[in-house]
Symmetry: C2
C-alpha cells in the first residue's frame, strides 16, 4: 500500500499550528507496515483540495484526510470528496443521535449546521467519534482507499486507533497480529547502543529493531508479526532478552514510561518517601514528579534553594562550605541532600547543584553538575559534565537524578 | 505570489519529527504578505521528489525546499532540481572555504562528501549558512522562484530571516517595509477580546490585526506596511493605543515576552525579591522563573510543600487551619505566602494551593485554586475556578500568579 496523508486547514498554511496529525499517522502506519510516500497540506478551498486529491489518487492507493469535518461552511472535506467520487451524503443515524444527545445534555442550543456533521459518504464504513461530534469514514473506490478523520488530535487519535487502524489491517488482509514494544535507555548514546547490538539489528527481521534518539534518551522499538498474538509477544521477549544481556545497565523502562514515572513507581513499591533540594534545576525535578497523579504519596516536597542565602538559612548548609568550596561543589550537594531529608522527614533526600549557564559560576564552567543522594545508609554524590543549553542541562540533570536514584533503589 | 513549501526527508514520512519548518516558513511568509497554498512532504527519493516538483511548478510560482542539502548520498534536493532544470552544479568558493576552515579549526578529518555540500546551482543567488555547512540558494527559472534551504531548523531559520526573506521582498519589488508587533493578553478569552475590538479589526487594513489564542492566552499581531519604517511603526503605535484604550487591564507584554519574563523584569525594575510556596503547582512556577537567565537576582527560591506535613513543619501553617479548613483554603494560601516570605527573607511571598485532579480533594472539586501574595503591606488572596486537565490547571494557576503579582507591582 502506498499511503498519502492530506491535511485540510488554512490554519496549517498560516503556520498557526504544525501538522502533528501527519506525524502521528505516519508513526502508526509505519508500525503496521504501510509506507507513507507523501504528506500534503491544503487550505479550506474546494478547488485546491480537489486538485490535491486528483494528484494523490494518481500516485497513492491509500489517502487519509484529516480536518474539514466540522459544522461550518469552511469545512468541506467530505463535500469535496463526495462530488469528486460522485457519491451522495447521507445521514448517519447513530452520529445524529449522539449529536442530539450532546446538545440536550449540555442544554446548549443546536444550530442547523450541526446536522451537517452527521452526514457521511454513502456506502462508507463509519468510524465512530467517541470524543467529539463529527464521525469519520472509510471507503474504497477504484482500488483507492479513502479515510476521513477529524482535525482535532484529541478526536482523531483515538478514532484512528480504535476504528481506523483495524479497518486498514483488515483491508490489507493482514491476519497477522502486530505487536510492538519500546525499550527505553538512558546514559548511553544512540551510536554506542547501535554498536553494542549491531549484529542483532542486522540479523533481525521479525521482530524488527528500530532505534530512535530524543531528549538525551534512546529507545528501541521492537515490532513482531505473527498469526498468534502470544507468539508475537514471545518473539519480542526473546529479542529483548538478547538485547538486555548486553546493555541492561542503561535500560530503565517500557513504552510510555519516563524516568520520572519509573522513579515514582519504584518509590511506591519500596515504600520510600523523597525530599528534594533544587538549586541548578530550580523546581524542574519536583515539577516533573508532581505532574504525575498520586505523586503526593511518596513525594514529600522540598526546597528550591536558588540563592546561597536559602541554602544557608533554610537548608543549613555550613557557611564554610559555601565560602571555601562554593555552592557548586560535592560537599554542598552532600549537605543539601542530607539536610532536605531531615527537614522534610523523608526516607531519601536528593539534591541538584551546578552551572546551567549562560555564564560560568564560581569559576566553574557551564555544565558542571553535582547530585547528592542521602539515605539512612549514608550519602552518595555524583559528578557530571553536561553539554547543551540552559534548558538541556537542567533537564538532563533531573533525568540523571532519577537514573542514579533508581540504581540505588534496585 | 503563490507559494508551496516542499520538505524533503524520510524522517518526516516515518513520523520521527513534525514538519515544523513548514510552520515557521508559513508564519514568515504570511507576515510579508505571500500566500502559501500547499505544503508537501516527500522522502529522500529522486523519482518522488521529481514528481512533487512537477506538480508544484504547475500550481505555484514560489517553491521553497527544506532539507536534503547534507553531505550523504541520501541528500539529493539540489541534484534533483539541477537535473530537472537542466542546470549544472558549481563549487561556491565562499562556502567551500568556510567548510575547510571548520574542519581545520576542529581538527576533524574531512571526507570527500563534504565537497558536495559546497556545490550550488549555476546562476543561483547563494544564501550563506552561518550556522552550518550547506549553503542555501535561490533562483528563478520560467517565472518560478526556487529557494533551497537546509533542514535543521537552527540553520534554516536564521538563513531565511537574514538572506531568504530579503531576497523574496526584493523579488516582489516590495519597497515597503513590513513591521509587525505582537500584543499579549491574559485573563480574557479570544471571543471576548474580538468582540471588544471588532470594529477596529473590521476597519483596519494597514496595520492588519490578527488574533490568535493559545495556552490560555490571546495575542494580537499588528502588521503594518510603509515605505518608511518609522511611519509603519507610527501606524502600529496608533492602533495599539486604540486597542489598549479598551482592553488595557488584560494586556501584559509584547512579542516574545511571557508572563514569567515580564514578572522577572518587573521584579528587577522594582528591586523586589520573591519567595514561592508551591503546593498545587509542585515546582512549576519556580521552574518557569528559573528557566530565565539572571533569575537568581530576584528569585530567592522557595518551598514545594506537596504534603501537609511540609506545610506544617517547614512552612509552619497552623495545624488548626489544615484540620478545619484544609490545605485548599484561603487561610492556608495566606499563611503559606506570609511564612515563605519570612523563611526566605524576601520582599514578597507568593503561594499556590488547589486541586489539580484527577480526583477531588478535601471535598473540593478539581480546579479549585487559591493564590496568596504577601508583602510588607499585608497579604492578598485570590480565588480561581479553573477547567482543563491536571497540566492545564497547574500552568494556568502559575500564569495567574504572575498576572496578579504584576498588577500589584504596577
Amino acid at each position: 500500500m502506498k499511503a498519502e496523508i492530506i491535511a485540510v486547514g488554512s490554519e496549517l498554511l498560516l503556520g498557526q499550528i504544525a501538522n502533528t496529525n501527519a506525524q502521528f499517522l505516519s508513526q502508526q502506519l509505519a508500525e503496521i507496515g504501510i509506507d507513507v510516500y507523501y504528506h500534503t497540506v491544503v487550505g479550506d478551498n474546494p478547488q485546491r483540495l480537489t486538485h490535491a486529491i486528483e494528484v494523490a489518487k494518481q500516485r497513492s492507493n491509500l489517502i487519509i484526510f484529516t480536518g474539514g469535518l466540522g459544522p461550518t461552511k469552511d469545512d468541506l472535506t467530505k463535500e469535496t470528496i463526495a462530488k469528486m467520487l460522485n457519491k451522495s451524503l447521507v445521514l448517519d443515524e447513530e452520529a445524529w443521535q449522539s449529536i442530539c444527545d450532546y446538545f440536550s445534555k449540555t442544554n446548549r442550543p443546536m444550530s442547523p449546521n450541526n446536522r451537517k456533521q452527521a452526514l457521511v459518504l454513502e456506502g462508507s464504513h463509519v468510524l465512530k467519534n467517541e470524543h467529539g461530534m463529527a464521525p469519520g469514514m472509510a471507503l474504497v473506490v477504484d482500488q483507492v482507499t479513502y479515510m476521513l478523520l477529524p482535525g482535532p488530535p484529541k478526536e482523531m487519535q483515538p478514532m484512528f486507533m480504535k476504528y481506523g487502524r483495524p479497518f486498514l489491517l483488515q483491508k490489507r488482509h493482514v491476519r497477522e497480529k502486530i505487536v510492538s514494544r519500546v525499550l527505553r535507555f538512558f546514559h548511553i548514546g544512540e551510536s554506542q547502543l547501535e554498536t553494542e547490538i549491531e549484529d542483532l539489528i542486522d540479523a533481525q527481521t521479525n521482530p524488527t529493531i528500530a532505534p530512535l534518539a530524543s531528549d538525551g534518551e534512546v529507545t528501541l522499538r521492537l515490532t513482531a508479526k505473527h498469526e498468534r498474538e502470544e507468539e508475537a509477544k514471545r518473539l519480542i521477549d526473546e529479542v529483548e532478552e538478547n538485547i538486555l544481556a548486553r546493555v541492561r545497565p542503561y535500560f530503565y523502562g517500557y513504552n510510555d514510561e519516563t524516568l520520572f514515572s519509573k522513579l515514582l513507581a519504584t518509590l511506591k513499591e519500596k515504600h520510600k518517601t523523597l525530599a528534594v533540594a533544587e538549586s541548578l534545576t530550580g523546581g524542574l525535578f519536583l515539577k516533573e514528579m508532581t505532574a504525575l497523579p498520586t505523586a503526593s504519596s511518596v513525594i514529600a516536597g522540598g526546597v528550591v534553594c536558588y540563592t546561597n542565602e536559602i541554602k544557608e538559612n533554610v537548608l543549613h548548609v555550613p557557611k564554610e562550605i559555601l565560602q571555601t568550596e562554593g555552592a557548586v561543589s560535592e560537599r554542598c550537594a552532600q549537605s543539601l541532600a542530607e539536610n532536605v531529608r531531615k527537614l522534610c522527614r523523608s526516607d531519601i533526600g536528593i539534591s541538584f547543584t551546578g552551572v546551567a549557564g549562560p555564564d560560568d559560576l564560581e569559576g566553574k564552567p557551564v555544565g558542571t553538575v553535582w547530585i547528592g543522594i542521602a539515605t539512612e545508609r549514608g550519602t552518595k554524590t555524583f559528578a557530571l559534565t553536561l553539554s547543551g543549553d540552559r534548558q538541556a542541562i537542567r533537564m538532563r540533570t533531573a533525568k540523571y537524578g532519577c537514573y542514579y536514584l533508581l540504581q540505588l533503589l534496585h
